[in-house]
Every structure is written in structure tokens, then in C-alpha cells.
């Protein structure tokens, strides 16, 4: 029912948009060599980005799972969630500050007489940026999965004297495998729809994704039919991928535990310790350095003048209101969908899962324009705007929330469902007594991720924004558009702090509850 609702909600504006446009002769058909070329590049960079992000995330997640307590672990994990909440341009400029021609690393290398880094632009720049955005996310998801492995597994492994390869093969991999396809698909879809990063760091128009063509079709050419066709192509591709990945999600998930921390008997090994530190260190540097650059640039700016500006506070307030609303909506929908998926099998489950994930591929601009078209005669666009932004942001955040809640529900279902059935616990009580305590932490992570994604959004608010409805990313872009890069840097800093604060609040809540129930 929920998935039906989502599909309808998405399909109606799109159809409305297509119907409203005149039947213009599209100059580009889908078999045009231009389209094929950008399709090829879109797929190439998405597969490489997703593959690289996951390949790096697995060892780092394992290392973090082994090192359960070291100074700054919590802070590091919080920081890992932050890139998601930043607009792409902010992150790109942060990366340029660190890895660019006049960046920190080059200055460092220059001062010790080493040659500078190769140019940031081209496919490698795109991969770097995508890894920056997605590897931390993958690490968080994988770590959440590893943290949920029952304590008994580790004790048994220790008593049987498992060497590290066996630990990986017999314990870690089977568990990680259950979330990997979902995470890969999510990152893949994110990279397919990546726009600013690809164009800015791509080095030239040979680095063009379908999203650019859609943007061009909708904005400059006003050809919604073409835009819809290209979007359809995007969706078809990813649907194929998702279907292909279905085969990989089998495997026993195991019960999700209540306790917050695990004791890892295998963490004593000296050699392993060094390797872990190295891995965590590298991962941390990749993520933390650009964030530090953003912080640095922000501190450089005239914060005191900006702090007195009422618009800044208004933007922050709206960012929070819209973000929280969208996150709540996304998490609720994700939970409903996840429950439905856990309870059904085969094609039905597939349809639910696809509908939840594929919505990410519908260009927000198409949804926004379609919605506007349908409703602007009925409702004043100014009043419509906040609701539209929340709704579309919720849809965009849905796959993120689902990537976390779906495995959690599946696990809970496998362990508890039959028992609850046999005890006759139904409906709300079942949710409250059986499922909620177990999936709480996953839901919190899913909520946090959805929240950050909504806060960092720029595309949708750019369409609906106005003098009254302004968010931090929109305010930031406005400042940049008038040469005020320093102000923009300060706003980026505010965004960073907000994301970090939210991350801390939400996780502290769930961690505290989990500790009490141990």
C-alpha cells in the first residue's frame, strides 16, 4: 500500500508535466550517439565510484569494529555522517582546498621537495569526490551491521582460535553481505544522479552524466518529454541492477542485539592493531581533512557580522524544520515498506524494494516542475512550497532510510515474527514490545541519514525557494552568486556544525537507551 502510494505520488506529477508540454519534436532520440556516450560514462563512473567506495569501506569498517574504544571514535563516526549533509559545491571546494593545485597536500609536498599531486580534474577527481561522499556512509552502514553480530559469535571464534582470515570468511563477510548489495545500489544510484561533482571536477564535457542531459532538457530547452525519457532510461538501468543484486541478499541475518558495545577477543593481536590504526587513520584523513578545510575557510570569514544577520538564523531554522519533517516522513515510509518487504517474498518483495529505491533516480527537478504544474492553479505556490520541499526531500531520502531499516526489519522478523505470532501479539503492541526495542538504533541511523540528506539538498529548494523560504544551502549559493565566498565559507561552517550537532544528539539518545537495556 505504501509503495503504491509512493509510485502514484511520483507518477502523477511526471505525467502531468509531460501532458502539459506541447508535443515538441525532440531533437534527440534515445539512440542518439550522444545519449549513448553519456550513458556509457554515467555507468562507468557510477560503477567505479560505488565499487571503490565499498572496497575502501570494508576494511575500514572491520578495523573500526575491532577497535571498539579509542579516543575520538565517537567523534570520528559522527564526522563520517557529515559529508552527506553538505551541498556538493561546498564539499568540492573543501576537497580542492586539500588536494588541489594550491591545496594543503601540495604545499606539504612542496615544502619537503616532493613533486606535486597530479591534477584533480578528470575521472580521478570525480572518483575522489564520490568516495569522499559515499565511503563514510558505507562505513557507517557496515559498522552498524557488524555491531549487531551477537557476542556469542566472537566468543566462539576466540575459543576456537580463528585466525583473522577465518573471522572474515565465517563471521564478518556473511553479515556484511546482507547489507552490501543495498549499500552498493544506493551509492550507485547516488553517483548516477551526481551533477555538480561530475561537471565541476570532470574536466570537460566528455564527463557528462544523464542527469546533465535531463537538466539541460528541462531548463534550457524546456523539453519535458525528453527529460522524462532520459529519466526513464536512468530508472530502467538501475532497476536492472537492483534485480541483478537480488540474488545476493540471501543469507541468515541473525538477531539484532540490544547491547551497545561488543567485546572483541581478536583485537589483541599486535600486527592487526597496527594495520587497523593505519586503515582508520587513512579513512579518517580522507574524510576529516576536507571538513577541516571547510572549517578553516569558515573561521577565516567575518563570522561576527554574519551571526548578526537575521537571514542566517531564519535559514538555519527552515533547514531544521524542513529537514526534520522530511526525515520523519522518510523514516516512517521506510519502516512501513521495510516491514512489508520482510513479510513478503519473491516478486512482491522485489517490487516493494524497487519502488523504495528507484525514487532516487527521478530527477528532483522533474518532480518539482510536475508538482508545480499540477497545483499552482489550486494553491498559491508560496504556500505550496514548504510542503512540496518536504515531500520531495522525503522521497529522495527514502532509499537512504531503507538501506538501514530494511536489513534491521528483516533480521527482527526472522527471529521474532513466528514467536510473536504464536504468542498472539498483534499490531501496535507487537511493534512496541517486539520490534521497536530491537530496531531502534537502526531507525535512529536511518533517521539521521535521511535528515542530513534533506539538510544538504540544494536542487529542490532552488526551485521552490523564495525570500521567505530559505535554507542554509540556498543562502550559501546566494552568497557565492554575489562574489561573497567568505560569507559562503562561514555558512558552510554553520552547516557543518549543525550536521555534527544533530548527529551527536540523535546518536546519544539511542546509545543511552541501548546502554540501559543491556
Amino acid at each position: 500500500m505504501a509503495s503504491g502510494g509512493i509510485l502514484l505520488f511520483v507518477a502523477i506529477p511526471v505525467c502531468g508535466l509531460i501532458a502539459a508540454s506541447e508535443a515538441r519534436e525532440s531533437t534527440i532520440s534515445l539512440s542518439d550517439p550522444y545519449v549513448l556516450q553519456i550513458l556509457r560514462f554515467t555507468l562507468l563512473q557510477a560503477v567505479l565510484s560505488a565499487g571503490l567506495s565499498i572496497a575502501l569501506a570494508i576494511p575500514i569498517a572491520r578495523a573500526l569494529a575491532r577497535r571498539q574504544s579509542f579516543a575520538g571514535r565517537d567523534l570520528l563516526l559522527r564526522l563520517f555522517a557529515v559529508p552527506l549533509g553538505l551541498p556538493q559545491l561546498v564539499a568540492v571546494l573543501g576537497l580542492v582546498s586539500v588536494f588541489g593545485r594550491q591545496g594543503w597536500l601540495n604545499s606539504l609536498l612542496g615544502s619537503v621537495g616532493l613533486p606535486p599531486l597530479p591534477s584533480l580534474f578528470g575521472l580521478k577527481g570525480i572518483l575522489l569526490a564520490h568516495v569522499f561522499f559515499n565511503m563514510p556512509l558505507a562505513v557507517r552502514f557496515l559498522l552498524a551491521r557488524l555491531d549487531a553480530v551477537p557476542q556469542e559469535y566472537w566468543r566462539l571464534a576466540a575459543s576456537l582460535g580463528f585466525p583473522p582470515p577465518s573471522v572474515f570468511r565465517l563471521i564478518e563477510w556473511p553479515h556484511m553481505r546482507t547489507v552490501l548489495p543495498g549499500v552498493f545500489a544506493l551509492i550507485f544510484m547516488l553517483c548516477v544522479t551526481s551533477f555538480t561533482v561530475v561537471l565541476t571536477l570532470g574536466g570537460g564535457p566528455q564527463a557528462t552524466t544523464l542527469e546533465v542531459a535531463i537538466y539541460q532538457a528541462l531548463r534550457f530547452d524546456f523539453d519535458p518529454v525528453l527529460a522524462a525519457r532520459l529519466a526513464g532510461l536512468q530508472i530502467l538501468l538501475c532497476a536492472l541492477l537492483l534485480i541483478g543484486l537480488q540474488g545476493m541478499t540471501l543469507g541468515f541475518v541473525g538477531g539484532a542485539r540490544l547491547a551497545a558495545s561488543t567485546v572483541r577477543p581478536d583485537s589483541g593481536d599486535k600486527g592487526g592493531k597496527v594495520l587497523d590504526i593505519l586503515l582508520i587513520g587513512c579513512g579518517a584523513l580522507l574524510v576529516v581533512l576536507p571538513l577541516a578545510a571547510i572549517l578553516w575557510d569558515g573561521l577565516d570569514a567575518d563570522m561576527s557580522r554574519l551571526a548578526g544577520n537575521a537571514t542566517l538564523w531564519r535559514a538555519a531554522m527552515w533547514s531544521l524544520i524542513l529537514g526534520l519533517s522530511a526525515a520523519v516522513l522518510a523514516t516512517l515510509t521506510a519502516s512501513t515498506l521495510a516491514r512489508a518487504i520482510a513479510r513478503s517474498r519473491g516478486t512482491v518483495a522485489l517490487i516493494f524494494r524497487m519502488s523504495g529505491n528507484l525514487v532516487l533516480l527521478i530527477p528532483p527537478l522533474v518532480l518539482a516542475a510536475g508538482m508545480f504544474l499540477l497545483l499552482h492553479r489550486l494553491v498559491d505556490p508560496q504556500h505550496l512550497a514548504p510542503y512540496a520541499v518536504v515531500a520531495i526531500n522525503a522521497i529522495m531520502a527514502l532509499p537512504f532510510a531503507m538501506a538501514v531499516t530494511e536489513p534491521a526489519f528483516r533480521g527482527s522478523f526472522l527471529v521474532h515474527d513466528r514467536l510473536a505470532d504464536s504468542l498472539g501479539i498483534e499490531g501496535l503492541s507487537r511493534f512496541r514490545l517486539v520490534e521497536w526495542p530491537v530496531i531502534k538504533r537502526s531507525l535512529a541511523l536511518g533517521f539521521l541519514v535521511a535528515l542530513l540528506v534533506s539538510i544538504g539538498d540544494f536542487g529542490i529548494i532552488a526551485f521552490f525557494g523564495s525570500e521567505d523560504l530559505i535554507t542554509l544551502p540556498l543562502y550559501l549559493y546566494q552568497r557565492i552568486g554575489s562574489y561573497r565566498f567568505n560569507d559562503a565559507a562561514a555558512i558552510a561552517l554553520v552547516l557543518l556544525v549543525v550536521c555534527l550537532a544533530l548527529s551527536w544528539i540523535i546518536e546519544r539518545q539511542s546509545r543511552r537507551e541501548a546502554r540501559f537495556s543491556q
Partner: protein, 332 residues
């Protein structure tokens, strides 16, 4: 008898009241950087409201292209009275919508180069130029041909013509200068292009971070740095073939119930109340009358020897083909 007169007087007063009490509200569609606190919007609103005893309501839409899209979506049901911020390249498509009425002013009475249009009146203009960092580049190119044939290791950052108006401006500039040889010129320029960004913000951001010594921007960009940042490090290169112009225009909507007020705004727009605000908030050259001299920094800006502009109708007809030509030349 007295009571009747009294009642009649009251009735008349009451009937007239709405006319006096309700100030008319003029809805102006414009782009975001116009209505921002540091943009021209607030001052313009203040000045016009003093003159007209009405209220001005700005509807801020992302940029010129988004404004056009909004009008395409709304059609005749649009609530706009005035549309301010379209540029010379968007005007043909705007006219095709059939939503605009003539502004009623003398189309020649303004300072923008080569513009005569009875529907759209220019309020400011600027020339595209390559802005360079004089601390890094001591000998900038003196012409577009020199830029195209220049050394490959002095990189430039440009914007994408598919997604941004400066990018489109450069495309048209190259077309106007090189004509049929534009594709070849792009092929030669390709080696110098560091990256092609989706918009001006990304390009200028990368430029100020030192990724490349040159970026496509406006002749007026250095003025911002001189006035606000007190540095004359960034300068614009003066090209001998001339510079392509971007003219920003405003028009009135045919179906507006406040057409007279809208036309009054356009007239106000050409006067000092509006134009005085433009130079240091919009960072463009004013197209109308100003009452005080421009800031000193504007005198130091380069003055193009020639203004280039391709007829908007021709641009509209050929844009797709020229963009494809650009794509073929730069991405293969």
C-alpha cells in the same frame, strides 16, 4: 434633510475608503541575487514604494533561465506583473510565450549597446571577459585568438553552455569571432581547459582557490574585489576582437491587472532611484540615468573596444546546433 446628506456623505466616504486604504501590490519576478539583502532589491523596493504609494512584492526565482521556466509552467495564469532579469539570449523564447506587453517607453533611450526592443527594456549590462590573477599571470592574452592558440599549461576554467548563461555567452562569443572556424578554435582551446563547470559559482570558486589563473567571468568582476576586498589582484583581460555582451532586461505582463503601475515601474527603473543602486550591488554597468558618479573602481575597469552580440532570434534558432558543434569539438 440634513440626515440624508450626512448619510450620503458617509456612504461616499465608505465607498471610497477601499481605494485609499488598499495599496496596490506590484508583483515582480526576479532572480535571487537581486532580492538578497546585499543585492539591489531592498533599496529599489524602498525607493519605488516612496514614489508610487504601493507595495512591491518580489518573487525570487533562482536565475534568468528558471524564471523563463516558471513562466512556461504558469502560462497566462502567472501572477507576475513585471519580469525583471531575463537576458538578451532568453528574450526570443520569452516573446514566444505571448505573455508580454510593450513597455511603452522609447526603445532607444538607454545606454546598453545595440538594443532596440519595444517589449524588453534593459536595466543593466556587462561584458563577458576572462578574469585573471595578476599575481600568477603577468602577461595575459590580448585577444581571443591569442587565448585559443596559447600555451597549454596556462589553464582556464569555463562554464558549460548547456547549463549556464556565461557558458552560453562564451559559445556565442567564439561563434561571432571565428564564425565557421569556431569548431576548430574550440579544438585548439580544449588543451587549455582545466574544467567546464555547471555554473559561474563553481568556476569562480575554483578560480579564487587558485586552481587556474584564468576564468570566464565579467569585466565588472575586478570591481567587487577592489571595493569589498581592497585588492586589485584580479583583473580582466581586454581582447582586441571585442567582448560579448550580456544585457539584462525587464518586461511587463500583458494580462496584468496593474499594467499601468507595471509600466510606471519600468520608467522608474530607468531613472536614478533604481540605477544608482545597481553598480555596487549587481556589479554591472547601469543602462539608465544615474545621479551620482560611478565608484572609482569602475573607472579602472577595462572598456571593450567593440561590443559583440548575435541577434537574439538567430541565437534561438541555432543554439542547439552550435552547442552540439561545441560538444563534438571538445569532447572527442
Amino acid at each position: 434633510m440634513n440626515k440624508a446628506w450626512f448619510a450620503a456623505a458617509c456612504f461616499t466616504a465608505w465607498a471610497l475608503c477601499p481605494q485609499i486604504a488598499a495599496a496596490e501590490e506590484l508583483t515582480i519576478y526576479t532572480y535571487e541575487s537581486f532580492t538578497a539583502d546585499w543585492g539591489p532589491g531592498p533599496k529599489v523596493k524602498q525607493n519605488f514604494e516612496k514614489e508610487c504609494s504601493c507595495t512591491v512584492k518580489f518573487v525570487a526565482i533562482q536565475d534568468g533561465v528558471a524564471m523563463l521556466n516558471r513562466l512556461q509552467l504558469e502560462g497566462a495564469a502567472t501572477k507576475a506583473d513585471v519580469v525583471l532579469g531575463l537576458d538578451n539570449n532568453l528574450v526570443t523564447e520569452a516573446k514566444e510565450l505571448g505573455l508580454f506587453a510593450p513597455h511603452g517607453l522609447d526603445p532607444a533611450k538607454h545606454r546598453a549597446p545595440q538594443w532596440r526592443d519595444e517589449f524588453f527594456m534593459p536595466y543593466d549590462y556587462g561584458h563577458f571577459a576572462f578574469v585573471y590573477d595578476s599575481q600568477v599571470l603577468s602577461k595575459p592574452p590580448q585577444s581571443l585568438a591569442e587565448l585559443v592558440n596559447g600555451a597549454g599549461d596556462e589553464k582556464i576554467i569555463i562554464e558549460d553552455p548547456r547549463t549556464s548563461t556565461p557558458g552560453l555567452g562564451l559559445l556565442l562569443w567564439m561563434k561571432d569571432v571565428f564564425g565557421e572556424g569556431a569548431a576548430d578554435a574550440w579544438r585548439r582551446l580544449k588543451g587549455r581547459i582545466l574544467t567546464v563547470t555547471p555554473g559561474w559559482s563553481e568556476a569562480y570558486g575554483l578560480f579564487t582557490k587558485g586552481e587556474a589563473p584564468m576564468v570566464l567571468s565579467y569585466t565588472t568582476s575586478p570591481a567587487y574585489h577592489v571595493i569589498e576586498e581592497k585588492t586589485d589582484r584580479y583583473k580582466a583581460a581586454n581582447f582586441s576582437e571585442g567582448h560579448y555582451v550580456q544585457i539584462e532586461v525587464a518586461g511587463v505582463i500583458k494580462g496584468s491587472p496593474r499594467l499601468d503601475l507595471a509600466r510606471r515601474f519600468i520608467a522608474f527603473m530607468m531613472g536614478p532611484g533604481f540605477q544608482d543602486v545597481i553598480p555596487t550591488t549587481n556589479w554591472m554597468w547601469p543602462a539608465g540615468e544615474i545621479s551620482k558618479p560611478l565608484p572609482a573602481a569602475f573607472d579602472a575597469l577595462i572598456q571593450p573596444t567593440k561590443t559583440l552580440m548575435i541577434d537574439p532570434d538567430m541565437v534561438a534558432r541555432n543554439r542547439k546546433r552550435w552547442t552540439e558543434e561545441w560538444l563534438n569539438a571538445t569532447s572527442r
